[in-house]
């Protein structure tokens, strides 16, 4: 289904990009030109005002093969948009070429503008800021990858009838898909409504799904390609005990009512109501019963008896006492379906399998209570039995003949899973001519395919469809670099010993002896190679540009993964069986912190996640090594977590511990040994926490901590006024790793507007109902240390969904405008003014400046699922917003488009400043969609991380699918293009050298000849 429109879209996108290629050549496509254009429109360097030669952004120019070929010094408007280049003659040549190309169009465009061609002017800007995502056909998949997931299996079935064999599944994420039985790849996939679930799946001529909440959708899908064949819907009251069944072209719906069972029948294809009947069932009154549909027979069980009747003919219930099967009555009997013909009754300690015949249920087999049972369809008459053996980390599969009830030995096998073990259930099984296969669904959301007898052929890690938090971590340096690091980067006390020339020489000699020893050992093969399981350690080494990193992802399925960011392969996974996420409101959160980065050899890198125990609900902290995926400790905290933050400064061992506030407002350190470090920093440590349901926000100081204990004292508290349906919809701080390079914005008159950069600023957005305006959305900017309200604004007739991006000195959020029925973006920017209150460092407590606020709103032509800002290492590169749209597109929108200073009437000054004129509606240009035709379904979060290159930001989009890409918001100004023509440059240089020699010779000869005359 996806293929035809997908291909078309793809072709279009390639065409657009080719168009851009032509244009970019027009404007100069070499690296140098990009620097010039970028700087022209981003007056990022206030320092330039005073000195005309200084550059603030020094960028190394490097080519793709990691060679440094020179340095370019960026320069702002003060030196007239020129690039000053130092370095070899090669670079001078490139820059010269670039300048001649770049300067022409720039001056031309300002002429245009003075004549009032605003549209051309805007197009000119669009040109610059959207062709960032230009992609040629051969670059598809070079910088990005996508992985598709479907979620945990709810229903599964084999399709052996139609042409190719496939596994049809319906999942808890409300996705229908067909999987290839050999590889596990998705053949087709249909993502149904969000926040609903599949209630029933039936595989016949077509795949029939029953899904939805109060409004139930019955749909049929073509099994081969997943196209919708027909669809109808009905309204039904919701009941957890409602059951669906499809039999002979009819859809039955069984709902228990008071003392009755209502059976409604519908024509499957047309949805025609065939009427409903109420069957007297007085035994349902107490609620202690369970029902299951076996084919078209409804079977119920109470404490004492079975009741069954056929849905088709609709007779009264027949009763069979449990005692007739020699079963002792139990309080809460549980029934579960075992294929189309059989069901099982689970009693404490055991379960009994019954075959449903014309004369009622017939007991055929007994199994343990925990076993998972499933009968294969068609005539094979075999039932598979799966038993989990946690002690030996294995699964035991055996088969039972439905005719005789005896185990069939030839099908029994033991699957040893080892560390990946998680309890599994059978979801689908099939036997074709003595060859059997089954699909297992694990508690950790895995989907496994088993050949019976045999082993697991493939496993899909569907836990990745429910990622909650992610972190992108640097890889460790290579062993050689590590040796050098440990030589120079020792601890302070060691340095104290080795002072003076003699000491340094000794250190040098010892370390070189060590290096020789390591070399000798390696050459002689004495060093053990890295373990063969998984990718070798050699490949997981930091590269020159810092583009190769490790993605750590924590899922709600109690599993964490390490993913290589270049190709997306899973490096490690860890099982956290008791781990469950914390909750803020309804949304799950797992705080994930990097306690120690990989840069501190020989200390092991360390990450920590906080959650709660699945059973007790108390806090659970897990510390693990993020490169190899080793769980180092899993600690039950013994209290409920209210708030957690990371210490700003590391201790002697480079460990930045966590400070955890519990629900009794007591303070704990994690790991416990970082307590001393926390106490040392306590005097300047503040914590902010919120109780969204109460609308209370409070700040705590740790200044009262003693030498033994951390003590939190509440120093400020805010209380949102009570209102009808008051709801705190967002509390967003800034990224703690963010760096702001430019402290101000240069205005057209060469004066500087200083930014109000408060790292402790928090944006709070609350929604209340109101009689006259229906909904009101309030935005507060609160200082997290002092508790001062820096700014507040109110939207009338606006409501959630709200997505907030808070960075540097600006805030952008999307909301829904009730009055105009559209999504809008509000943009705020804070400035201190023309002078700075504090030039050295920011302090929330001594800063009582009320910032100047610039604000503007824009219409956004789509709703927004989630958004995030790009982040780079030094913060020189301009910021873009990465927005996930509900249609599966990922949009990269330059922040410049939502700049609140965009003027309605373009004056000359504003033009000099490089601000685009105001247009109320923001564009969604197709070439700004960074995932081109690779739809990313149901995005829940976007994670951005800086790379080693200043120009490049790494983006991971997660939701049902995973999508990773590198973006360069100001274009790859510090990286030469792939198609950079080294040969041509070298040839030209060589030619020039030869030519100069030849002409020198010629000139000399001519001079000699003239002298002879």
């Amino acid at each position: 289904m996806e293929s035809t429109p997908g291909q078309r879209q793809h072709q279009q996108s390639v065409q657009t990009r080719l168009f851009y290629r032509e244009n970019s050549q027009l404007y100069g496509s070499t690296a140098g030109a990009e620097i010039a254009t970028r700087n022209q429109h981003h007056n990022i360097i206030p320092a330039l005002k005073s000195s005309s030669i200084v550059g603030s952004g020094k960028s190394e120019l490097r080519d793709e093969s990691h060679r440094s070929i020179g340095f370019a010094v960026l320069c702002g408007p003060a030196c007239g948009s020129r690039i000053v280049v130092v370095g070899g003659p090669l670079i001078g040549l490139i820059a010269g070429m670039a300048l001649t190309v770049a300067s022409g169009p720039v001056s031309k465009s300002s002429d245009m503008c003075s004549k009032g061609y605003y549209i051309l002017w805007t197009l000119f800007f669009l040109q610059f800021f959207t062709c960032v995502s230009c992609l040629f056909e051969d670059q598809i998949g070079k910088f990005d990858w996508r992985q598709r997931y479907i979620g945990k299996i709810r229903f599964a079935a084999f399709d052996a009838v139609s042409g190719t064999r496939k596994i049809l599944v319906a999942t808890e994420q409300n996705v229908l898909a067909a999987l290839h039985p050999k590889s596990g790849n998705i053949l087709w996939q249909q993502v149904l409504e969000k926040d609903e679930s599949v209630q029933h799946m039936h595989v016949g001529k077509e795949l029939v799904s029953v899904s939805g909440g109060p409004r139930v959708h019955v749909r049929a899908w073509d099994k081969t390609n997943g196209l919708l064949a027909w669809e109808w819907s009905l309204s039904q009251q919701q009941s957890a005990r409602a059951r669906w069944a499809v039999d002979k072209g009819r859809l039955y719906h069984v709902v228990p009512l008071d003392g009755q069972l209502e059976v409604s029948a519908f024509s499957l294809e047309s949805g025609f109501d065939l009427g409903s009947r109420r069957l007297a069932a007085p035994w349902t009154a107490g609620g202690a019963y369970d029902c299951v549909l076996v084919g078209a027979t409804v079977v119920c069980v109470t404490q004492h008896s079975f009741y069954w009747t056929s849905l088709a003919d609709g007779g009264a219930f027949a009763e069979v006492p449990l005692a007739s099967f020699d079963l002792t009555p139990a309080a809460v009997p549980v029934l579960s379906g075992v294929g189309e013909l059989a069901f099982s009754l689970r009693l404490p300690g055991k379960q009994t399998v019954f075959l449903m015949g014309d004369k009622g249920p017939r007991a055929i087999h007994e199994a343990s209570a925990t076993a998972s049972l499933l009968a294969t369809p068609f005539d094979s008459n075999i039932m598979f039995k799966l038993e989990n053996k946690p002690d030996s980390s294995a699964l035991q599969v055996s088969a039972v003949s439905l005719n005789t009830g005896v185990e069939v030995d030839e099908y029994s096998s033991t699957l040893i899973l080892g560390s990946k073990f998680s309890p599994c259930t059978l979801t689908a099984a099939i036997c074709i001519k003595d060859e059997c296969a089954a699909v297992l669904s694990g508690d950790d959301h895995t989907i496994s395919f088993v050949n019976i007898p045999g082993q697991i052929t493939w496993t899909r890690e569907e836990a990745l469809a429910s990622i909650i938090s992610t972190e992108i971590i640097d890889l460790p340096v290579s062993d050689l670099d590590a040796a050098i690091e440990s030589e120079f980067g020792s601890k302070q006390e060691d340095l104290g010993v080795a002072t003076g020339i003699v000491g340094m020489v000794m250190r040098r000699l010892t370390s070189q002896v060590m290096q020789i020893k390591v070399l000798a050992q390696t050459v002689l093969g004495l060093v053990q190679p890295a373990s063969s399981s998984g990718p070798s350690r050699a490949s997981l080494i930091r590269d020159t540009f810092g583009l190769h990193k490790m993605i750590v992802a924590v899922t709600s399925a109690g599993k964490a993964f390490g993913i290589d960011n270049l190709r997306g392969e899973l490096i490690w996974q860890i099982q956290l069986p008791r781990f469950a996420p914390l909750h803020v409101g309804k949304s799950p959160v797992v705080p994930l912190y990097v306690l120690r980065t990989t840069s501190h050899v020989p200390f092991t890198p360390l990450c920590a996640i906080l959650g709660k125990d699945r059973l007790t609900g108390e806090g659970l902290a897990v510390a693990f090594e993020p490169i190899k995926g080793l769980v180092l400790s899993s600690d039950a905290l013994g209290y409920k977590v209210q708030q957690v933050m990371q210490l700003p400064h590391p201790d002697d061992e480079f460990l930045r511990g966590l400070v955890v506030l519990d629900d009794q407002l007591k303070v704990h350190a994690y790991p416990p040994e970082s307590k001393a470090n926390a106490i040392k920093q306590a005097a300047s440590l503040y914590m902010f926490t919120t109780w969204p349901a109460k609308g209370t926000f409070a700040g705590f100081s740790f200044a009262h901590s003693t030498k033994q204990d951390l003590v939190a004292t509440k120093v400020w508290e805010l209380q949102l006024p009570d209102g009808p349906d008051r709801e705190v919809v967002a509390v967003v701080g800034k990224n703690p790793t963010e760096r702001v390079n430019s402290q101000g914005r240069v205005l057209a008159d060469r004066s500087v507007m200083y930014k109000y950069i408060n790292p402790n600023l928090i944006a709070i957005i609350s929604q209340v109902s109101d009689s006259s305006h229906k909904y009101i959305l309030n935005m507060y900017l609160v200082d997290g240390v002092s508790g001062a309200v820096v700014h507040s604004a109110t939207h009338k007739r606006a409501r959630a969904p709200v997505n907030v991006v808070h960075s540097e000195n600006w805030l952008v959020y999307s909301y829904f405008n009730e009055k105009m029925r559209r999504t809008e973006l509000a943009s705020f920017e804070l400035y201190e003014g023309k002078s700075r209150s504090n030039t050295t460092a920011f302090s929330s407590k001594s800063n009582s400046v009320r910032p100047l606020v610039e604000q503007q709103a824009y219409i956004f032509p789509s709703t927004v699922d989630t958004m995030k800002e790009t982040i780079t290492e030094k913060g020189i590169t301009s910021k873009h917003l990465i927005m996930a749209l509900p249609n599966g597109n990922i949009l990269e929108l330059p922040w410049m488009f939502v700049d609140p200073r965009r003027p309605t009437v373009q004056t000359g000054e504003m033009r000099d400043e490089g601000v685009i004129p105001y247009t109320p509606e923001l564009p969604i240009p197709p070439d700004a969609i960074i995932n081109y035709n690779q739809t990313v379904n149901r995005v829940r979060g976007i994670h951005t991380a800086p790379s080693g290159l200043e120009s490049t930001c790494l983006v991971l989009v997660y939701g049902l699918d995973l999508f990773y890409i590198r973006v360069a918001p100001s274009k790859a100004f510090d990286l030469l293009k792939d198609d950079f023509d080294h040969f041509l440059i070298a040839a030209v240089l060589l030619g020039l050298v030869i030519a100069s020699y030849v002409t020198k010779k010629l000139a000399a000869r001519k001079a000699r000849n003239q002298a002879w005359k």
Binding site: H583, A693, A703, H704, D722, G787, S846, T904, P920
Partner: protein, 237 residues
Amino acid sequence: MNSLSAPGVLFGIAIFLHASYLGHSYLQSEVDYDGQLSIDLQHALDDTPESAFKSRGSIDIRSIRSGFVDIDQDVIAPEDAAKISALRNGVYRLRAKVTTGGGKKSSFLTFVDGCSLYESGLSDILTVSLDHSGHPMAVSLSTTKGVCDGSPVDAKNLRTFNTTVLISHMEQAPIPDTSAYIQKLEREKEARDRGETKDNRSFFAKYWMYIVPVVIFVLISSAANPEGAAGNAGGGR
């Protein structure tokens, strides 16, 4: 980030555990009929976790629109003044219990560094932030002295608080300015139309600045290369 003056605060994610919702109560807008607020101030003069708050005085805001205030604060007893000067290394905390004109009560807590309060000579600024309906959502304290420099203060400046009350209303958030944009487009269109009707000069009058250079260029090039031009002319015959 500097460690001393910029308190390193990292905000994790808050987790709510107390789900006690305080019930629905419809609020009447206090701004519409110019509400009043009375604030009861209590301060903690001991810098300990469990210090007791004692009364400091009260502030009556008669009109939240005009900002007319009545400040009634007690004279500070000498032992309290000594405590305040002893607070120089700690924090001074203030609790504000606000009662609105409608009788709704709420309590806020705020603080400043003890040294800045001391060095400012007890000149403090109390900011009352109101939400869209005129109900208070925050009371925050600051002083006229931003950064402490350790300067001594005369004891007579520590007798009374010199309080300034600021009332901060909520601002109207921006809305997309479509009308101004459409007007701008219309103005431009008008200007263009007007320009087109007015400019009825002849072709040469309009484009002489382009034509003249071309002509000059042609003349110069033909003058510089007379043989070529002549040769061409000869070939034509």
